[in-house]
Point group: C2
Chain length 468, copies 2
C-alpha cells in the first residue's frame, strides 16, 4: 500500500508524473558527485502551481523534498539523502523570453543553460556564466548552486546575473524576490541569498537574468610552461598589468596527457602546465592586449605561445579544455572532484601543497581550473571499491580543504558544500557564521523538509568515502 502522502500527491499532480517504481527511483539516486540515495517517490513538476502542491503536501506530511535539474551537480545537491521526494524540474517546458531593450531574459527553471546562451546571441547579447556543463545542465540547477565557469574571471558568476526570482517556499507559498531592474535595494537581497543556497531554502520556479552586449571580437592565447611556478607567475603578472581576460584557465601535465589519450587535441604534453587565455572586446583593443599578453608569457619563460589565427583553431583549444573532465574520468572508475579556492596570489602555494598531498597519500591527483580567480579543481582519480585507497583519498580531501582554509581560501569556489564538505564548514566560517546561516534555514523551513542533509553537518559528522 502506498503511503498516504503519495496518494495525496497523485491526486494533485496526476499518477503518471508521481513515480514510485524501483527503476524510476534508482534513476534519481545519484548525481555527478559521490554517493547513492534512493528517494521514495519522484515527482515531475511542470508548473509553479504543481510545485506549490508538492510543497504543501510534503510540509503537511513532513516528507523531505529534494529539487533536481539534470543531476550534473558535483556536490550532492540533488541527492535525496533523507529519502522522500525528488522534485524533478527537468520536464518543465523550456522558455527563454528576452526583452532586448531591458537587456534581460525571463527563463523557466528546466531550461538548459546553453539554450539561454543561444537565445541571447540571437539578439547580439550575452549571458556570461558558462559552467562546463552548460549544454547539459539546467538554469535552475545553476541558480541553486551559483555555478561559475571560465568567464567568471571577467564577468562574475551566476549570482551576478540574477535580478529576480520566483520561489516556492518550503511551506508552499509563492514568493517574488528582486524584480526586473538592474539596480534594486528594496529590502533584503533575497535573490542573492537564494542563488547558491543549494535548494535548502525553497524551489526556484522562474528567474529574470541580466544580459550584456556581446563583445564583438575574441582572441585566444595558449602558453605552456616548464613548471607550475612560472605558469603561476605569468598568470599573476598578466592580471596586474591592467588587462582583464575573459578567461584564464590552466591544466597540469597529467590533464594534458589524459586529454591527448582520450581524444588527440594538439595539446603540448611535455609541459608541466598549460595556460589558456581568452581576451574579448572590440577588434582593435584585443589585438593590442594579445600582443601584451604574449610578451608577458614569453618574458616569463613560456616554452611555447600559440595565438590561433582562425575561430576553428581557437575553438579546438577550448574544446580540449572542456574535455579535461571526461578525459580524466577514464583514468580510474571514481573521480572525486574538488573546487577549493584561494586568493589569487596563493595559487603557487596551493599547487605546491597539492603536490605534497599527492605524494603523502600516494593518490592520483590532477589539477586544472580557473587560474585567474584562484579557483582550482584538484581531482582525485580512484576506485570506490578499493577501501584502502578510499581511506587515503578521504584523508587527502580533508587535507586539501585544510590547505585552502590555511591559505585564506574557501572550501568551495563554485560547486557548493552539499554532502561532502559540510563537516568542514565550521572550520572556515566559525561557529557564529554557521549559527547565523542555520537561523535563516530554521526560520524559513521550520519543519526541515527542504533538501535536508545539505550544507549543515549533523553533530559529529565527518567526511566518509569508504563503506564504513
Amino acid at each position: 500500500m502506498e503511503a498516504q502522502w503519495i496518494t495525496a500527491l497523485q491526486q494533485r499532480i496526476g499518477k503518471e508524473r508521481v513515480q514510485t517504481g524501483t527503476a524510476d527511483r534508482h534513476s534519481y539516486s545519484y548525481d555527478g558527485s559521490f554517493g547513492e540515495f534512493l528517494p521514495e517517490a519522484v515527482v515531475q513538476v511542470r508548473s509553479t502551481a504543481e510545485v506549490v502542491a508538492v510543497m504543501e503536501t510534503a510540509n503537511a506530511f513532513l516528507v523531505p523534498v529534494t529539487p533536481r535539474g539534470q543531476g550534473t551537480c558535483l556536490s550532492g545537491g540533488p541527492l535525496p539523502v533523507k529519502g522522500g521526494i525528488v522534485l524533478d524540474m527537468s520536464q518543465w517546458p523550456s522558455s527563454v523570453d528576452i526583452t532586448p531593450g531591458d537587456l534581460t531574459a525571463r527563463v523557466s527553471p528546466g531550461t538548459l543553460t546553453a539554450a539561454i546562451h543561444a537565445a541571447a546571441e540571437e539578439h547580439g547579447l550575452m549571458y556570461p556564466p558558462d559552467p562546463s556543463s552548460a549544454h547539459v545542465s539546467t538554469i535552475g540547477g545553476n541558480l541553486a548552486e551559483n555555478s561559475g565557469g571560465p568567464r567568471g574571471l571577467k564577468y562574475g558568476v551566476t549570482k551576478d546575473y540574477v535580478i529576480g526570482l520566483e520561489v516556492v517556499t518550503p511551506e508552499g507559498k509563492i514568493m517574488q524576490a528582486g524584480g526586473s531592474t538592474i539596480k534594486n535595494v528594496t529590502g533584503f537581497d533575497l535573490t542573492k541569498l537564494i542563488v547558491g543556497s543549494e535548494g535548502v531554502l525553497g524551489v526556484i520556479t522562474a528567474a529574470t537574468l541580466k544580459l550584456i552586449p556581446k563583445p564583438p571580437a575574441v582572441q585566444t592565447i595558449m602558453a605552456s610552461f616548464a613548471s607550475m611556478e612560472t605558469a603561476g607567475e605569468a598568470i599573476s603578472t598578466t592580471l596586474t598589468s591592467g588587462i582583464l581576460p575573459a578567461k584564464m584557465e590552466f591544466i597540469d601535465q597529467a590533464c594534458a596527457l589524459a586529454v591527448e589519450a582520450y581524444q588527440p587535441s594538439g595539446l603540448p604534453t611535455d609541459a608541466a602546465a598549460i595556460v589558456m587565455i581568452e581576451l574579448d572586446g572590440n577588434e582593435e583593443s584585443i589585438q593590442v592586449e594579445a600582443r601584451q599578453v604574449s610578451q608577458i608569457m614569453k618574458e616569463l619563460g613560456a616554452l611555447e605561445v600559440i595565438e590561433p589565427k582562425t575561430p576553428e583553431a581557437a575553438a579546438a583549444i577550448w574544446k580540449a579544455r572542456k574535455m579535461v573532465s571526461p578525459a580524466i574520468a577514464k583514468i580510474k572508475p571514481t573521480k572525486v572532484s574538488e573546487d577549493a579556492t584561494v586568493p589569487r596570489s596563493q595559487i603557487p602555494a596551493m599547487t605546491a601543497r597539492l603536490a605534497d598531498i599527492r605524494e603523502k597519500y600516494s593518490v592520483s591527483l590532477v589539477v586544472f581550473g580557473h587560474a585567474g580567480d584562484g579557483n582550482l579543481h584538484p581531482n582525485i582519480l580512484c576506485d570506490k571499491r578499493d577501501q584502502e585507497e578510499m581511506k587515503r583519498v578521504e584523508l587527502a580531501v580533508g587535507e586539501i580543504f585544510e590547505a585552502a582554509i590555511e591559505l585564506g581560501g574557501t572550501l568551495s569556489g563554485e560547486h557548493g558544500i552539499g554532502t561532502m564538505k559540510s563537516s568542514f564548514m565550521e572550520q572556515e566560517l566559525g561557529a557564529v557564521g554557521v549559527d547565523m546561516m542555520r537561523r535563516i534555514k530554521d526560520a524559513w523551513d521550520p519543519n526541515g523538509i527542504m533538501n535536508p542533509g545539505k550544507i549543515f553537518a549533523e553533530p559529529g559528522q565527518r567526511l566518509v568515502l569508504t563503506d564504513e
Copy 2:
C-alpha cells in the same frame, strides 16, 4: 541620574566617547533625508571589541542601536527613530590595506570611500563604486546601503565588490562572512545579505573589497536633446549597439538651470535633457566607441554633441553633474530625493509619468539620474514649513512609487527603504516576500534592538511628510 545602561556603557567604552549632552545628541538627530529624531546617547566606537561591548550592553538592556557613518544617507538609515544609542563609526581610524596580487583591499568601516579610490589608484587598480557622496561618506555606510553611483552601469554597485565582511551581530557576537577569494559558495551568501540591509542585521566592522585593473583611458561625451523622448531613444540605442559605457547620466533642463545659477559650468540651458557619457578601456577601443556613440547621438537628433579634448574639460562636465544635487537644494529649503528605478526600456514612460505627477500636484519636481540602468532621481523641492505644500509632496511621492512599481520597477535603486518607503514594501514585494525578510530579521535580532523602525512598516504605517 543617568540610565543604568548609560553607566554600563561609560564603564566599558570610557566616559569621553559616550555622549549624552543635548547638543551632542542633536548633532546626531538627522541625516541627508527627511525627519529628526533625538537619540538618548551617542557612542563613538573605534574597534570591533567596542562594538561588541555596545551590542552586548544594548541587548541586555533592550536599548535600540542605530549605526551611523557620516550621516549622508538619503533614506534615513542613521536616524534613531526609536531613540536609544547612535553608534558613531566615523571616529574609527581609517585604514585601507591593499594586496595587489589578490586585487583586494581590507578596509575599516569609518574610511571615506574616496580614500579607497585613491589608495587603489596608487596600485593601478580601481574600486568602481562611486556614489556622488564618495568624498564625504564612509565605506561602512556605503556597505549598509549598497550604494551605487554612475559607474554602476558598467561595473555594478557596492555589493558586487564585497567578498568578505566582519560583522557584530545584534547579540554582540563577531561573525565572519565570505572571505578573501573572488569566488565563494561556502554556505549561504551572508555577505550579500548584509550589504544593503540598512544596518538592521548587524554592525559591519571590516570589509574585504574586490578591486579591478584601472582602465588605461577614458573619453567623455556630452549630448543635448530637445525632448526627453529623443534623449531616451539615444540612450537605449547606444546600449543595444554593443557598447557598454562606464557611465551614462542624464539631467533635465531644470537641473541644468539650477547648476548654472549655482556655479556656471558651461552646461547648455536651452535643451530639455542632457546626456553625459563616459567610455573607458584602452585608448584604441574608446576612440572607436566614441565615434560610434557620437554618431548615434547625432542620428537621433542631438542638438549638440561635445567630445572634450582635455582631461580638464571632461572633469568640468562631471563636476557639473555632481553639482546637481547641491544646486537644486538651493531652489527651496527642503529637498525630497527619490530613486525609483525602472527597467531600462521604461525610462521614457517613467519620465512621462513624472511630468504628469509634477503637473497634477503642482510640485517643483526635477529629474536627473543614472539613465543607463533605469535609476532615476526625481527630486521634489519644497518647504517643510508649508503644510499645504507638504501634503501635495506626500501624495506626489506616493504616486512616484506607484508609477515605478506599475512599470515593473522598484521603490529604490540605490538609496534604500529606510523610513519613508517602508509602507510601500508590500505593494512591491507582496506579503510573502516581506514575511520571509522579517523572519530573517527576527531570527537574527530576537529583541528587535538593531536599527529598529527601518525597512519594515508598522501596522497601518503610511508616508507622512506633514506635522500631523
